[in-house]
């Protein structure tokens, strides 16, 4: 083939490439497909298919434990996303729109720290720190959980926003200043609209990450603060039920929806 002559190494033509690729796809997605399929199974079994039904979705929806967990999850994820995205936006502006300052690399490292430290370490450290704070102040409540989520959501929100700002042509802001826009109006009319897709993408990523978190939540959450993943985790120890499959499918749907919109929005040209 004439086309292959120009490429000395073509991965696709290596022996076994197709088989390995398909193997990966199957191992990744087969369990998910099974899970989705059995959430629609009329039977109680999660291994034997009988017939199609929405029963488990109805059951899950009527299950008070699941409902409460879902509400806690949404509450925590929404609050953490809002706060984290705000901080991430400010951090991204500070690390891209100011003259290079001493310790910029350190600042960058600190913002991204939650990505690099093993989550279990963060979880243990946060737990003992919060225990100390609780003892001193006597304050309790869901605020601690939201705070912990906010912290690990920040780097996820920060990355797409920063990428967006770095892509943005700096002369656009200069052009706005040249055309009599004051710094505030430059931000309102040029910087913010152009970074909006990055902010949205960051917020969605943060939301998904918060929604999915297990380890930190497991450590921090107090009584009545059970999130969906924790609830599922608790139930599964008593065996998998199609009800859990249904909840997982819904969670999966939300994640897929948000992550694909994240990519679609992120791809929009700057």
């Amino acid at each position: 083939m004439a086309k292959r002559k120009g490429r000395p190494f073509d991965l696709k033509s290596q022996p076994g490439f197709t088989q390995i690729a398909w193997g990966c796809v199957v191992f990744l997605y087969a369990p998910i497909l099974v899970l989705i399929a059995f959430s629609f199974n009329a039977n109680r079994s999660v291994v034997r298919w009988t017939e199609f039904s929405f029963d488990w979705y109805v059951a899950a929806f009527q299950n008070e434990g699941i409902r409460n967990a879902a509400i806690v999850s949404l509450k925590v994820a929404t609050s953490a996303t809002l706060v984290a995205t705000t901080f991430a936006t400010m951090a991204a502006l500070a690390t891209t729109r100011t003259a290079p300052f001493r310790g910029q690399g350190v600042a960058f490292g600190i913002i991204n720290q939650p990505l690099m430290v093993p989550e279990i370490v963060t979880a243990v450290v946060t737990l003992s720190f919060f225990a100390l704070v609780k003892q001193i102040t006597g304050l309790t409540g869901i605020g601690y959980l939201i705070l912990a989520h906010t912290v690990f959501c920040i780097p996820f929100a920060y990355m797409p926003i920063r990428a967006r700002l770095e892509d943005m042509n700096l002369t656009l802001e200069q052009a706005a200043a040249d055309l009599y826009a004051t710094p505030f109006r430059i931000f309102r009319r040029v910087t913010l609209p152009l970074m909006a897709p990055g902010i949205l993408a960051g917020a969605m990523l943060a939301f998904v990450v918060s929604l999915d978190d297990v380890i930190i939540t497991l450590m921090i959450s107090g009584p009545g603060e059970t999130t969906l993943p924790i609830y599922i985790f608790g139930q599964i120890r008593r065996g998998i039920t199609p009800e859990i499959n249904a909840v997982s499918t819904v969670l999966l749907g939300v994640s897929v929806l948000l992550v694909s919109s994240f990519f679609l929005i992120g791809r929009k040209k700057a």
Binding site: Q174, A175, A177, D178, A181, T182
Partner: protein, 358 residues
């Protein structure tokens, strides 16, 4: 024109980047007066400080020392949005989230002009740059030439006192570039706005400008009309940078009011134009097309020599003549009747032969 036509005055402006070891003087004491309504060009090689000077006038950089006056008012320390000066950026910098019309109206909105006035000005600007049909387009769907026009309209809409253009044509291909040169001149004429134009293309500078400032290494070497710059270059660098030129070294023997007699190493004596008293060793300069070809045994030819090379280039031929001065002297003629090895005389007229200030 008298000097009180001065719209912009640049007084002893210096600009240093960095500090300590890495301190770099991008502009080392620039002085210039730009007149109202003129097409003023900053010409110079890459890195000579053209963009830096433009950014100082626009307000994107602050001068290290010196003053920038606009209509007699010091503006050198005002932020960009407080200066009645607009810029056409090299990469156009059009707002990608706005339409063509929204881009053009941006400056007027920031000046809080009434809606009706904005609408009519935008329409006028669209017509001026011949973009009326594309008013509703998004700017990323425009060609390079169209983006250029929008950038121009956007910068002209607020009717600035001065329009700054930083190599606005360098991204265009040759044909479009020639077209836009003509367009730019027309638009400047129609609007009457003062243009400060940056280029490193000497031909572009010569064809478009009312006056040119030739820059090198952070300094302005000469300011003058295109013909002054071309025919009476003040410095060797200016002469060399613009077009082809012959240099002849010699010693001043008689210094007059407006002319000087210079003895060449071979003993010949040339009379040259000198705008100021000169002495000692000097360099003379003459354009190839000003060097006349004569018979070697004609009377009063100051130099003669042998033809060493003939270079044909379409509209003429360059005749290289070895007159015993080291470098050949090049004479340009449309159809010279000479052959390699011929002995020829060279006529160097006093008005075309200038003494350079080193």
């Amino acid at each position: 024109m008298s000097s009180d036509d001065g719209l912009i005055e640049i007084v002893n402006v210096t600009k240093a980047f960095g500090t300590g070891e890495r301190r770099f003087l991008a502009l080392g004491g620039v002085n210039a007066t730009i007149r109202k309504g003129e097409f003023f060009t900053l010409l110079g090689p890459s890195g000579c400080g053209k963009t830096t000077l433009l950014r100082l006038i626009a307000g994107f950089e602050l001068p290290t020392s010196g003053e920038i006056l606009l209509d007699g008012q010091e503006i050198g320390h005002l932020p960009p949005y407080r200066r009645p000066v607009n810029t056409v950026f090299q990469n156009y910098a059009l707002f990608p989230h706005m339409t063509v019309a929204e881009n053009i109206s941006f400056g007027l909105e920031m000046l809080n002009k009434p809606k009706a006035e904005i609408a009519s000005t935008v329409e006028r600007m669209l017509a001026l740059v011949k973009m009326s049909e594309l008013a509703g387009r998004r700017t990323d769907q425009l060609s390079g030439g169209q983006q250029q026009r929008v950038a121009l309209a956007r910068a002209l809409a607020p009717q600035p006192k001065v329009l700054l253009l930083d190599e606005p044509l360098s991204a265009l291909d040759l044909k479009l570039r020639k077209e836009m040169q003509v367009e730019l001149k027309r638009i400047q004429h129609e609007t009457g706005i003062t243009f400060i134009f940056v280029t490193h293309d000497q031909e572009e500078a010569l064809t478009m400008s009312d006056r040119i400032a030739v820059m090198a290494k952070g300094n302005i070497l000469q300011i003058g009309s295109p013909s002054e710059i071309y025919n009476a270059p003040a410095a060797r660098f200016v002469a060399d940078f613009i077009g082809d030129i012959n240099f002849i070294e010699g010693q001043v023997v008689v210094a007059g009011e407006k002319t000087a007699q210079i003895r060449l190493p071979g003993g010949q004596v040339l009379t040259a134009r000198a705008s100021r008293p000169v002495e000692g060793p000097v360099t003379l300069a003459i354009r190839p097309e000003k060097v006349g070809l004569r018979h070697a045994d004609d009377d009063d030819v100051p130099l003669s020599g042998t033809v060493t090379n003939l270079v044909y280039f379409g509209s003429g031929t360059n005749v290289h003549v070895d007159v015993g001065l080291g470098a050949d002297i090049v004479a340009r003629a449309t159809a010279p009747k000479v052959a390699l090895g011929d002995r020829v005389g060279l006529d160097l007229h006093v008005t075309d032969l200038s003494v350079l200030a080193e």
